[in-house]
């Protein structure tokens, strides 16, 4: 049958073609997987078998300038749960919830939190009781994947002391992790969230330990591929003096209490005094010796995670936002403390002869002026009589400075914006550059900035012109001028140092503890900023006035310094009582000492607290007591009263 045979051959050929195409399909698929897509599969094969486990390194400690520990570490009992076994044994979650007295939903949410790696155990509680830990260890069969371990966490031996400065730590957020990609951060890692903890994070954070394990398909560990021990972080030594810091905070707290308890005759109620701040700086290099903000918070409440409600309460306006660091971020009208800039400008430009005397009648009437805003009064309408620049500072004669403000404006063709220029030379109106996050720049207004604001937004700033009255207001630190407590301390530091200004410095070095003692690994040097040399003719009359503030019987802060050994430690200072529309007066005091050899510069600002001389100056007095090592035996208690 040739037909059948031929047909069979044709059919066989078709079968052969089908077979050939099937083999071609296999070959091309193998080439696709093993050549084109191979690298992706190699990555997956490695991820399959390699588990990387990180062990956080203990953070470095935070020390004061004398190596007293402000922020320490302590060992915490942590209970962790492996996500794998949480999925495989859902009953474990319920058992754990019952044992630790927490909600099973909370554990579940944590177990599925994408911020945690699926291969590192997820911390469930950071402070487990000893009983819970023992129970878990003894009943390990009932708790597969649950581990009780010890971990280092933050502790604060001095409680809330310097809370704003040291900041706090917490679990890194997704944004913080994203911002530090490649920086050895893992989900669940602690990170500095504010203050020194954040600013010096690179030094404080050590290098986490890393272990690479090879595991089989059943997640059994086959062998260790790589291991590295964690390297603890470096200690950071602050410029803070713990004793002065303690005294500053105590004095601030006392002043706030005093303000709460005194009656404001203008507002016909007690002073609200919602917040305040004080800064102590070394004029010689810009080192911060103390920095405090009120109200404060307990950094320990962040350890092991803070609840949303707790965090909200710390930022709530009703509670006056305790988390806000008013010392670097609060912006206040400087009031009479600003007269320093006006005085320097007047003497430096020779607008004013130091011997010129003006009769202060308690009010200043603007020449060639029509309308209702032509008369400017002293605070309390007090008449100071004949005053020169020195006396005007001592008794805080506004009338004297009004005159200077008006003269500068009338002679603006000659002097330009001389007051603003001096204010800026003292560091006002720009950020100081302190290493902490949250600093504000304050504001030194001038005709140009007023016009620019008006042009940018005519509705919000209907008045684009600058008038004599604006200069008069500026001369006594009112109007639109704003300063931070840190800027004010820096300005008086700069004046004390003869015009030399430094970037405020909170830390001097990072060090590591070795068996042979501490070894310095990084030094944070003092950084001078452009300095304006002030000559003696300018400085002398002003210093005399500032010294009079605390020593002259008519000085505005004389009561606060009653009994202070001024002959031994002469103090130069200036009170300020700033008016804020719709609020009670802001009390300010800025000073430095010893006046002949300045080592300490101070600023104190208290919101809605009354007279600078009566509430702010006593704070400075008390911390000078501490700074100079004075006790009740050789210094008298503060008498609080006065007028600006």
């Amino acid at each position: 049958m040739p037909d059948a045979q031929g047909s069979a051959h044709l059919r066989l050929t078709i079968v052969g073609i089908v077979v050939l195409s099937l083999f071609a399909a296999l070959t091309s698929r193998a080439i696709y997987l093993q050549v084109m897509d191979s690298s992706a599969f190699q990555v997956q094969a490695r991820e399959n078998r390699v588990r990387v486990v990180f062990e956080p390194a203990p953070r470095g400690r935070i020390l004061d300038r004398n190596d007293q520990v402000i922020v320490d570490n302590r060992v915490a009992n942590v209970i962790t749960l492996s996500r794998d076994s949480a999925v495989k044994n859902p009953a474990v979650i319920d058992r754990l919830a019952a044992l630790l007295h927490i909600d099973a939903q909370t554990i579940k949410a944590r177990a599925t939190d994408v911020r945690f790696s699926p291969y590192t155990p997820i911390p469930i509680v950071d402070e487990a009781s000893e009983e819970a830990i023992v129970y878990v260890r003894e009943h390990q069969d009932d708790f597969p994947g649950v581990e009780a371990s010890r971990a280092a966490e933050r502790s604060y031996p001095h409680g809330t002391l310097a809370a704003h400065l040291v900041g706090y730590v917490g679990k890194a957020s997704q944004e913080e992790l994203d911002a530090r990609k490649g920086g050895n951060y893992q989900p669940g890692d602690e990170i500095g969230k504010g203050g020194v903890e954040l600013a010096y994070e690179p030094w404080l954070r050590g290098t986490p330990g890393e272990t690479r394990l090879e595991v089989d398909s059943g997640d059994r560990i086959v062998r260790t591929l790589f291991h590295r021990d964690p390297v603890p972080g470096h200690d950071v030594r602050l410029t803070i003096d713990l004793n002065v810091q303690t005294a500053t905070e105590a004095a601030l707290q006392r002043a706030m209490n005093a303000a709460h308890g005194s009656f404001d005759r203008n507002a016909r109620k007690s002073f609200v005094a919602p917040g305040g701040a004080a800064v102590v700086m070394d004029p010689r290099d810009g080192s911060i010796r103390a920095i405090a903000s009120y109200p404060n918070f307990d950094p320990a409440s962040f350890v092991g995670g803070i609840s949303t409600e707790q965090f909200k309460a710390l930022s709530a306006p009703e509670a006056h936002a305790p988390l806000n660091d008013r010392a670097i971020g609060g912006e206040y009208a400087p009031g009479s403390t600003f007269k320093l800039a006006t005085a320097i400008a007047a003497l430096d430009t020779h607008l004013l002869d130091p011997r010129t005397t003006v009769v202060d009648t308690g009010k200043y009437t603007l020449k060639n002026c029509l309308g209702d805003r032509c008369v400017f009064h002293n605070a309390g309408n007090e008449a100071h009589g004949p005053v020169n620049i020195t006396k005007a500072i001592t008794v805080s004669s506004d009338v004297f400075f009004y005159g200077l403000g008006a003269q500068f404006w009338n002679g603006r063709a000659t002097y330009g914006d001389a007051i603003q220029k001096e204010a800026r030379a003292l560091g006002l109106g720009t950020k100081t550059g302190i290493a902490l996050i949250g600093e504000h720049a304050g504001r030194v207004p001038d005709p140009a900035s007023r016009l620019a604001a008006h042009n940018a937004n005519p509705k919000a700033f209907p008045n684009g012109g600058w008038r004599t009255g604006d200069n008069i207001n500026l001369s006594i630190g009112q109007g639109e001028v704003l300063v931070t407590p840190l800027q004010l301390a820096q300005a008086y530091s700069a004046f004390a140092a003869g015009g030399k200004r430094f970037v405020p410095r909170v830390a001097s070095d990072a060090l590591t503890m070795t068996p042979n003692g501490p070894k310095i690994v990084a030094t944070f040097d003092a950084k001078p900023i452009d300095s304006v040399a002030l000559n003696g003719e300018v400085v002398q009359p002003i210093v005399a006035g500032l010294e009079g503030v605390v020593s002259d019987p008519r000085g505005t802060a004389v009561n606060a310094f009653a009994g202070f050994p001024l002959s031994q430690f002469p103090v130069a200072g200036k009170t300020g009582t700033a008016q804020v529309r719709g609020k009670q007066d802001t009390a300010l005091f800025a000073a430095y000492a010893p006046a002949d050899n300045p080592q300490w510069a101070v600023s104190v600002i208290l919101e809605e607290a009354g007279f600078g001389g009566s509430v702010a100056a006593p704070v400075a007095r008390r911390l000078f007591d501490a700074a100079f090592g004075l006790t009740r035996a050789n210094t008298a208690d503060v008498v609080a009263s006065g007028i600006d």
Partner: protein, 384 residues
Amino acid sequence: MLASRPQEGRGFLAAWRHADHALIVAAMAVAALGTLVVFSATRHRLKAQGLAETSTVSKQVLFVVVGLAVMLLITFVDYRNLRPLAPYLFIGTVVMLLAVVPLGTNVKGTQARFDLGPFQFQPSEWAKIAVVICVAAFCAQFRGQLTGGQIIGVLLLSAVPIGLIYEQPDLGTALVFMAILLGVLAVGGARPRHLAFLAALAVTAVVVVLQLGVLKAYQLDRLGAFLDQQDSAQRVAYDVNPAKYNLNQSKIAIGSGGITGKGLFKGTQTNLAYVPEQSTDFVFTVIGEELGLMGSALLIGLFGFIVWRIWRAAATARDLFGTLVCVGVLCMFVFQIFENMGMTMGIMPITGIPLPFVSYGGSSTLAAFAGLGLVLNVGMRRFS
């Protein structure tokens, strides 16, 4: 020479000179490669269980040796003498498949094996060889002209063993029978329109099966894993979808082998037991991972050579029965090779089919060598 049929014994030696020795060598090479990778796939898992590393591979070596013996034994008897035995073979096969229902042991949910002490006997593997002979014998008698009625006859007869195997359940092996049937019918003289009708019937059957929802959960999982490979970069836990996990790990093993492979016994996927069923259905992953594309290409090349020689034996067979026997074996091998390797690489859905000469398993190895024996038998007697 053509006139008289020589006596069996002397005739065998005469015919053996015409045997396709290259085919035997190629099959032995594949089997050798197979034992190596079976060893690689099993040694760590055995060690973890406290057993001797070689306990599985030594059995496989034994299966290969016995398989070669079976192959030789089959070549000894002229295939034409098998033709009258076809009805008895058929009955014997059906009896065995029926007997396994009450007497067999259940392994991984499939009632397909007799337990014989250290070994197991899987009648469905032998049934493939028997059905090849039976269907070839049945079709050969119509001299290359199959009517519709005759085709229906073949289908009805085959439906008995196929149905029994499908019920074990062993869908994969049942599909092998269909491939054998299709090939033998096509070459044996079915008319194109009948074949087209059969193809249409098959498509309809697939649609109906999917629509009726008679597939079991694991079969749906396998189909799902095959159809949805987009997220294969996502690790799938074994307990969530075993088929997806299996396919995922299988592709990772093969793909990560690259061009040259990680080296024999050095595959991480293999050594750390990431691929389930790796010594049997997923044995190709060991070759892919440890020997890379070079290993895959070598295996595909050897299989290609074997299939080509079988095709040649079919083309040069002395009679239609011989041709159809070879075609049946060819279809069996090709379907198993394509389905098995294809599923490990994600171009075919997962079904439990061994890779001939490579996968660990007594019955499947013996059946593969038996099929080869039939082909050699036909080929060496093409002149007698």
